[in-house]
Symmetry: C3
Subunit: 328 residues, 3 copies
């Protein structure tokens, strides 16, 4: 998606992981790595984005997601403005464009956009002024690129380079913006094999064309996997015609210790959160030694700091000195 | 209104533009000019109000207006507290005074007040402790002084000194706190001629006594105007008896390219936003080359920074060095 | 309550004033004393908690209380995150623990917790990760320790050491988390005599065992008191069977100038706010020369800064130099 890169090939917006060059994906992870060091200190803050204004523009409420972006911005010393756009009339057309024009005129530097409609983040990115960046925090069923990047970052930290790895994504692939973004990010980073495991009713048509292996059988799909990425099952899906019941879903696709035995002995287990215990994962797995679910959350701050600093600053590296050394 | 000035004639509160001395109005605009330079840099921040606390005390919700004050405060490095006072019981009498006493006791330095009742900001200013300043962000039909000041600032930037200018204000003068504040600010700054253009039903009685020329006919009123300031038409007015319909209003008072031809060839077009396209302005005018509507938004941050720094610091000048030079 | 202290006896969480060692209570007040000096300056800010993240986790809404903690955190230069947990499903059990795990994973340093259920703050403290601190901002009828500490601080500032003082607490002791925390704090600090004054229906059983003197008669209880601490009467209690009417309550337990005559000639009058004028206090007393009610509010910021800095930093002293000297 060419809207994401400027003419020099630098990342200007992050809308999707689809089509991002491998070196750019790698640079984001490398930058996140440098921020991870900062976050381990007691002064978890760098002055990189001081005097810049980042707007959390949430057309769909999500305290959880907003919190991660707000923390990332604070730890880059940016000023943050939280705007919840409640009325549907403002979330489209002329009124939306007017709001963007106004926020740009107030010299805001970046918009973190969450929207219930697929394509909304790209629409906004195509309509913002030069010099303003857009970061997609989830748009409809389309994409959730920072989640996919933090997942890739977590895999790399625990399992090393992605080339030799077999990675299985399990659950409601059809409705998942997370799965879509994960597939593009992992393949873009050169992952050895990416599998999707789901009942036929929860698989998009022609998903094979993305370059993934498709499994309807959980045990076959987990065979030898180095990484097992579970998706969140939306409760509303389970009440529809696509799935008979939570219990039946768990019996076929829930991750248990027994099922994990077929995977690689050092396989890690991931989930974007919040976990429905007993639906997607057995609690013993979710809270067990292979789970890196909370590491994903921690890594999410560093990855979002990396994305913000790259789209706003064009820098690829965090400063080696945190704020305490710089300002005092 | 003497509540605004301290015994030394310094601005302590900004409640209204009425009666402000010309040199004080000029000083606000000059200070805003110096902040405009800061806002053009990537580090849009000065340490002028570090350690000071500014409270956005909004008795009437307005994300848009709150945002402009919040950004202005952040860019002065002040701490900001947003308090939305939802219940009507707290917005009056003893409960209101108790809330003020408490916020003062917490050593807050300034209240930015928005209230549906005319006179509320002045009431609060008359009741705050010494050392606390009040900035009116719109009170009923009474006043909206920062809007008027940013308008005057925008005119001065585009057209130079106000003395030779003919400025036309068009629309619902009767219900507009913006119009009232504009008239006082522009005449206070020595504007050559201020005209109001509206149907008789939307004009206050005896408006001439303020020193303005009154026109019911749009074309006559625009004749030779250097500046055309359109007002926002509130939808609720249009459903009442005062106005027959949006369509008829537009046909008589809507600003079109054709109508603009009667004004000065280099006339600028202004609007406090958000624009009702096709009601107050033809979209081609709103988005056309004469429109400075988005410049008003940009200037609004600098003007609000100027007002905050003057009422809190007594300084008339922004520092020439932004935060990066000062703190690092 | 041993959850509050770490193995070295340092304060890690503040859940209750019950059982806190006297030297620790004294250290909190001494630290607050040093912050009081900072708050009197125009730059009311110290860099003690720069780069630390404090989360206001409010399961029960209270703008007033949240504001005091937010200001305290800002003036310590901490980053603040406000999270209002609206849904009851998130306020308990697995979902609550998941939220805590996530906020910990985001490397938040402290949770300020307000909850309608008694024991919620302790539950959270027992379940947070090492390195994270919990400050109770009021849990059900259990405790409100920062209010009690700011009360003790206010008494010490106005009346000196607590040993020789007779302190009367008046009102709805039964339902008051404030009264409970005050009793423990005052006795822990060595107060000479603590009295509770209330009708039998508003006294907990066996309250004498805490070490207080019980009075049902207001005049007898106020006799010779150095400090009169009024409690807030919740309106909902007054509609129940426990109390006949506001008017009757005031006639028996309302604080008037006449009643105050029986107390020490230099007695001070306190109230945690907001005051129901004419119910708990005659307005002439609430706003009179003996009232230190607004000083309590001011002191509340310094005391909350002290608690935050102690649980997070382990320091007992505020820096002698405020931010301006340190950073510029």
């Amino acid at each position: 998606m060419s809207v994401q890169l400027d003419p020099q090939g630098q990342l200007r917006h992050l809308i999707s992981t689809e089509g991002l060059p491998r070196e750019l994906l790698t640079r984001i992870l490398d930058t996140a790595e440098s921020f991870s060091g900062v976050l381990g200190k007691s002064v978890k803050k760098v002055p990189l984005l001081r005097g810049r204004t980042i707007v959390n523009l949430f057309f769909e409420p999500s305290t959880r997601t907003r919190t991660t972006f707000e923390l990332a911005a604070q730890r880059l010393s940016a000023d943050v403005l939280n705007i919840d756009v409640a009325t549907s009339s403002t979330s489209k057309g002329e009124n939306l464009l007017d709001m963007l024009r106004n926020l740009e005129a107030m010299q805001c530097d970046a918009f973190v956009v969450r929207h219930a409609d697929s394509g909304a983040a790209e629409f906004i990115a195509r309509n913002v002024a030069p010099g303003v960046s857009v970061i997609n925090a989830g748009d409809g069923r389309h994409a959730h690129p920072t989640q996919a990047l933090l997942d890739a970052f977590t895999i790399r930290r625990h399992k090393g380079p992605l080339e030799p790895l077999t990675i299985a994504i399990v659950g409601d692939i059809l409705h998942s913006r997370v799965a879509r973004s994960q597939i593009h990010a992992l393949l873009g980073l050169g992952a050895g094999e990416v599998r999707v495991i789901a009942p036929r009713t929860l698989l998009p048509r022609a998903i094979e064309h993305l370059g993934v292996q498709v499994y309807e059988d959980m045990d076959a799909g987990l065979e030898g996997a180095d990484v097992v990425m579970m998706l969140r099952l939306q409760h509303e899906r389970m009440q529809g015609a696509l799935l008979p019941s939570e219990g039946e879903f768990f019996s076929r696709y829930g991750l248990t210790e027994q099922r994990l035995e077929g995977s690689h002995p050092e396989a890690i287990v991931m989930h974007p959160g919040p976990v429905n215990r007993g639906v997607e994962l057995d609690p013993r797995v979710a809270d067990g030694p292979r789970s890196v679910i909370l590491r994903q959350v921690t890594n999410g701050i560093a990855v979002r700091m990396a994305v913000m600093s790259i789209v706003l600053g064009g820098q690829g590296e965090a400063p080696t000195e945190p704020l305490e050394e710089v300002a005092n």
